[in-house]
Symmetry: C2
Amino acid sequence: MDEFELIDRIFRRLADRKPWVEVGIGDDGAVLEVTPGKKSVVVMDTLVNGTHFLDSQPADSVGHRALAVNLSDIAAMGATPRWATLSLTIPKLERDWLSGFANGFFKLARKYQVALVGGDTTAGPLTVSVTVGGEVEPGCVMRRSGARPGDLVLLSGKIGGAATALTSPQAYADPLLRTALLYPQPPVDLGQALGLFAHSAIDLSDGLLADLGHVLKASGNRGAQIESDRVPLFEASSTLLGSSRALELALGGGDDYELCFTVPGDRYQKVVDIGNQLGRDIFCIGRVTEQGGCQIKGEQVNLKELSPGYQHAWPA
Amino acid sequence: MDEFELIDRIFRRLADRKPWVEVGIGDDGAVLEVTPGKKSVVVMDTLVNGTHFLDSQPADSVGHRALAVNLSDIAAMGATPRWATLSLTIPKLERDWLSGFANGFFKLARKYQVALVGGDTTAGPLTVSVTVGGEVEPGCVMRRSGARPGDLVLLSGKIGGAATALTSPQAYADPLLRTALLYPQPPVDLGQALGLFAHSAIDLSDGLLADLGHVLKASGNRGAQIESDRVPLFEASSTLLGSSRALELALGGGDDYELCFTVPGDRYQKVVDIGNQLGRDIFCIGRVTEQGGCQIKGEQVNLKELSPGYQHAWPA
């Protein structure tokens, strides 16, 4: 079986057509409609075997996460996802793996009406690169740079679960922790609804402190005071590790794919109501300050031992 | 040096801002303007070390080609490129290599006003994945599927040079052949101009016979008669290999990144004039027929020995 047949048989069959797709898979490029008056949003993220996932990880989880990490970025921009392109580099043709991968990818794609419109399949070390495009009302773009002193710092869900799942076989066996790691559910619906209310937003991929740090820096070197007992943890994480270690993983662990966003205090109740309508709990964990870095109040955590977030560090 | 500094220092510095880029590198996603009334075009291609390029290849050539292979697809759709996202997976941080890569990428990007707006840098086996977006007038989209019996089959330039460069050190040392392999110049300007005239188009990446085959199949299983003595060869290719072998590489070699397109006979002169204005020779190599596959008339070529185009074949 050659490359073209592979693409045809597996991906073209599963690729839903949407009204905004004029030309999809199978030509040199995709042709897409953008709703008049809206702006286009584009994100791209890559997962590398051995760095972002392991051989032992279920194939459908790899497919799910390859799309999920991008939908998380789309959500953080306040956009509605529309299309994706997929570049899949695989060492050899394993029908079962590909089929599992495709199932994970398309199940999530259908949930949010994302059309796969093109990409590339090549031979080489297992690597998955996905680009997702969406659109957004001009006034609803959420940037990292909009946080203002006095803003509340909110989270779209519990954090630290994925990092906890990696700490032991026992943790990995916990259904909620395992799901947080293998099948994160980025708050796409919430992101679309927040654009009118949030001053700033970022998706949590590198760990709360690292990602909130990006927001504070981009917003003019602001600071934040985070109340540690308000950081929403997974119950299983606290039970297994103790609350102090669970908190450390929540602050520094990464792979959460929840939103961290800031809103002025008088919009807090409105945002909680929106969350309720969408079945999502919104957690207020602190405030943006004029300056002074990010301070953690409350339970003692060893900040020095915190991972500085998920970074790929090379020898300089 | 960590990932974020790497991205900041090398790529952000070189990324030109364009009027259509509202948010570029440095947020969760890029925000882009689409010209009212135009359609959006998206392409994605990946280069893997060891498959699509070699360790010995100059870094600026890898950067150039990573963008060029995508611009070639954009050209084949009749679109104008606007933005790119780049996912770069590298085993270790080699400043000289990265700098060379960036120089090759941005030199070509500037030539066609393509803004780098985002992407991803990860640790892993050397792989470069690029997505390019552009826009096109609704009536100017070129598809693979539009070829009609009687259409002339045209090429935007000489072919077989890249494949010849790989045949021997002597061939690789020839400046024109080497340039064809390392720094292909996709006809972006010509692609934009052809949309009103061509019935169909494809970019030549897998070899003329394979790619023309895609057009004929997509156009309702049409055939074509190609006159072998009209296929435009590199002089150095014929000199080094003899005209018969040079022709075989032109028909089956791949990596040309020229356009193959079909036009009705009465538009031929207009297309040649457009080519002249853009400094590009247009070559007519045959005609589309009702059916009968792709026939090569003239010089005897051993079709069985032709590579079936560039495909990544896995064990089934």
